[in-house]
């Protein structure tokens, strides 16, 4: 269960009040009618889907109903930050430390963490 800090309400609330809305910071092509099928398809359907640090859009659905962003590790599920629409992330895959991501303690895909003797 996530405990999510809404940057508008300035409070921690339970996950059930929120809805995830997918990858954040996707730019809509400036001139859709002029965009190629490839560019439009990329915009609509193709996603980063990273195993690691991810910037994603959430909405405080039964709270203030505002959209905002979360930076989260998709392995440990640790929330690294939440920030308002229009702002840029303060933490990225390059800058997040292992401790922040909480990988050691919380990752559960055993096949990967156990490592493999050859």
């Amino acid at each position: 269960m996530f405990h999510i800090y809404c940057p508008y309400c300035a409070e921690y609330r339970e996950e059930e009040e929120f809805h995830p809305k997918g990858q954040a910071h996707i730019a809509r092509p400036a001139d859709p009618t002029a965009s190629s099928d490839d560019a439009w398809g990329d915009y609509l359907f193709f996603r980063d889907n990273p195993r690691g640090v991810h910037h994603e859009l959430w909405v405080h659905a039964v709270g203030c109903r505002k959209f905002f962003n979360i930076t989260r590790d998709t392995r440990s599920y640790a929330i690294l930050e939440t920030y308002r629409m229009g702002e840029q992330p303060g933490v990225t895959a390059e800058t997040a430390t292992l401790a922040e991501r909480d990988i050691e303690r919380r990752t559960s895909d055993t096949a990967t963490i156990q490592g493999v003797p050859s």
Binding site: E15, N49, R51, H54, S108, A111, T112, P117
Partner: protein
């Protein structure tokens, strides 16, 4: 390969069952193969099996980072049906259904395929219209199906609350008698044994960490046990497909989400069939061991942790109690999650990629177990011919650029 039969059972009883052969070898990786399959789940193993059996391509390795069938194959609720709405998906899932019907014989391995039927309940007028449309479409495609009334449902599954007292009264259902369940582990093991017997190397505890690509063509893979060469590579890595695509330098229209399931303590036989409801959002069957096998919905966020949120478990059990009030005091035994690879149209991707020789078979999302034999069968053909099998052609990645989506959210809404 040692064949299994009633006779061999008796014979081995005489030696106290101490001389059964191992199911498969544990080989040392070769330098080079004709074909590498990445991902030793049901789909990857089925692909290897049909490559060897139907196309005579036996210089094949299946590379699995964990153990065979330990991904979604081992984590799913094993519902098998083929009553999909659109022609393209109906053809794919029905192809699979026909293979299921002869699979135990073909593999000489009991996959415990049980055609106990699948009910998809309708609770609203719109549900019923969708169900009627889907059943008619199924019948036009030669797939068995019927629209049944609450009275008929009561006969099929007496434990269901078909009364009008329910909060979401059941108005009817689609009924596919040929649907049912199978033993997930046995499916992986049966394909693995059959592939191994034909010369396929099953490399467990071997993780693909990158692709060797020269002039836009794949020539092999990097693994934690060294590099392995191949001119044809098929990725069948379910929830990790996006990670593999990134290693090869492109994106997929796929998102990886946690999907959970749970089983109860074992009970005496109470359920006859598989019951699914999109509307109250739960699905249930009973295993041969007696436990109720209950499937949940996905978590809306991305996750690779093979576990989901408690709230989803809670909603799922609410739905089960809505349908089967008598289960309100059943205790749950275990709960777990898998990582499912969902696509925008709830249909899989069986496709070539921007890298020549590199193919992907993924995007099966919440409902690919039922397709295991069919998926492996058409993917093997695709790898052997270097072009899409006729049934697979519609499932190319290109559809997300041309717009020719196959929207199965109606048939696959919950859904498995």
């Amino acid at each position: 390969m040692q064949r299994y039969s009633g006779f061999s059972l008796v014979k081995h009883a005489l030696s106290h069952h101490e001389n059964w052969q191992r199911h498969w070898r544990n080989p040392v990786p070769k330098k080079e193969y004709d074909v590498i399959i990445v991902g030793g789940g049901g789909h990857g193993l089925a692909t290897a099996y049909y490559l060897a059996k139907q196309h005579g391509i036996t210089n094949v390795a299946v590379i699995e980072k964990g153990w065979l069938g330990g991904g979604n194959t081992a984590r799913n609720t094993t519902i098998v049906r083929s009553n999909y709405l659109w022609d393209e998906s109906a053809a794919l899932y029905e192809h699979s259904m026909k293979l299921w019907e002869g699979l135990s014989q073909d593999l000489n391995y009991n996959v415990m395929f049980s055609q106990r039927g699948v009910l998809n309940l309708g609770h609203t007028l719109q549900d019923m219209r969708d169900i009627q449309r889907r059943v008619h479409a199924n019948r036009l495609n030669g797939i068995d199906g019927e629209v049944v009334t609450p009275e008929q449902i009561k006969e099929i599954e007496p434990a269901l609350d078909t009364s009008e007292r329910a909060r979401y009264p059941i108005l009817g259902a689609s009924w596919q008698p040929r649907g049912g369940v199978a033993r997930h582990d046995a499916v992986a093991w049966g394909f693995a044994r059959g592939a191994d017997a034909r010369g396929v190397d099953l490399l467990q505890q071997t993780e693909v960490t990158g692709f060797k690509i020269v002039d836009g063509k794949v020539v092999g893979v990097h693994t934690n046990r060294g590099d392995i060469g191949a001119r044809t590579v098929g990725c069948v890595t379910a929830g990790n497909s996006g990670v593999l695509a990134k290693m090869a330098g492109f994106q997929l229209p796929v998102e990886s989400h946690p999907l959970q399931a749970l089983v109860s303590e074992p009970l005496k036989p109470i359920l006859n069939t598989v019951t699914m409801s999109n509307h109250v959002h739960g699905y249930i069957s009973q295993s041969d061991k007696g436990d109720l096998v209950i499937g949940a919905g996905i978590d809306g966020y991305l996750g690779y942790g093979q576990r989901g949120s408690f709230s989803v478990v809670e909603h799922t059990l609410q739905a089960i109690i809505e349908m089967f009030p008598m289960f309100s005091r059943v205790r749950m035994n275990r709960q777990w999650g898998g990582i499912v690879d969902t696509t925008p149209d709830a249909c899989p991707i069986i496709s070539k990629t921007p890298v020549q020789g590199l193919f992907f078979n993924c995007g099966w999302g919440t409902g690919g177990f039922k397709a295991t034999p069919g998926s492996g069968n058409v993917f093997a053909w695709t790898l052997a011919h270097g072009q899409a099998h006729p049934i697979a052609a519609a499932f190319s990645i290109d559809r997300f650029r041309t717009g020719a989506l196959i929207d199965e959210h109606g048939a696959a809404g919950v859904a498995h």
